[in-house]
Symmetry: C2
Subunit: 206 residues, 2 copies
Amino acid sequence: MGRTSDAREKILAAARSLIELRGYSALGVAEICKAAGVPKGSFYHFFASKEVLALAVIDEHWAVQLRDWTRVLRGEAEPLQRLRQLFEETEAAQRAGQQSCGTVSGCLFGNLSLEMSNQTEGIRERLQQIFDAQVEMVGTVITEALERGEVTVSDIREAARSVVAQLEGQVLFAKLYNDTQRLDVLWANCLALLGARIDQDTPAAA
Amino acid sequence: MGRTSDAREKILAAARSLIELRGYSALGVAEICKAAGVPKGSFYHFFASKEVLALAVIDEHWAVQLRDWTRVLRGEAEPLQRLRQLFEETEAAQRAGQQSCGTVSGCLFGNLSLEMSNQTEGIRERLQQIFDAQVEMVGTVITEALERGEVTVSDIREAARSVVAQLEGQVLFAKLYNDTQRLDVLWANCLALLGARIDQDTPAAA
């Protein structure tokens, strides 16, 4: 990797880390460049504005998460077990983040949604697309579970939204209380929200 | 009301409005004073710091919300109907906010939790206390419903947390999509999360 792409990666990594720590609004380009160890001129070579950088941070994070969600939600396990695995991996990721930086950082997309969705239309639209994609992926799994008679939902999309909303709400509390155990309840709540007919006490396949 | 308390109220109102619009981190004291129409000297007469102001904004908002939650959740209606009323009033309040300022502003406490809970320990603790109080109030209602055999929950506190988490998660989406209809599903989801035994299709008493 040449120096040029190094600088871009360094800026992205620094921005990602600073946004997780302090949010987007209060960040300045100078601070990002200082943390990245690159001259300010480099910034505008790669990013036309702080908003463009934020979109790149979001896209990069979503590319990784989409790969993980696809692996889990389109995997070989039974439909509801895939959702369970998704929650377990989410909790494990939040726990790993907490161990490395001391606090639960929560969901980058949720954090940005509440911090700035009313300020920057481009970012709002991108976040909407990401959550739409998450809801669609969860909805596909619910459809499979429905075909197997394992759940009772009347509106698949609404049910998928509720599962993702419960995830975001519990991650909010995990962050606020700096306690990843808040996420333990996701699986049971998902089953309740989906009117699941399977035994809820099956041991985790973690 | 004399001029002195006028200035304090003006600063609080301006800060509340600016925090709803743009979050806390990016705000400066000068900007708040300009919006409030008071000299900067007044600010430090009333508030030792921006953090102290934020705590005052939070406390003021919670005082109003606590009054509303108490009226609804300790009211005369049957337990689960009180929760329904809480969701309906939440949706109505978000709709009123949207009509007055164009966008759904969401939950001040949720917004601040995701924007800054890892930055300012004093604010994190205050937000924890508020959500603890909300969970306790919802838990009291769930206890009553449990005694009447209307719900089936094994851990009342966990169930109350899940109801509040679902509320926060759906409010997050209502804000991101600027769509208060996202909150329509709260009542049905609450019943599902509580394993409610009553007829879910009872028309709203709105």
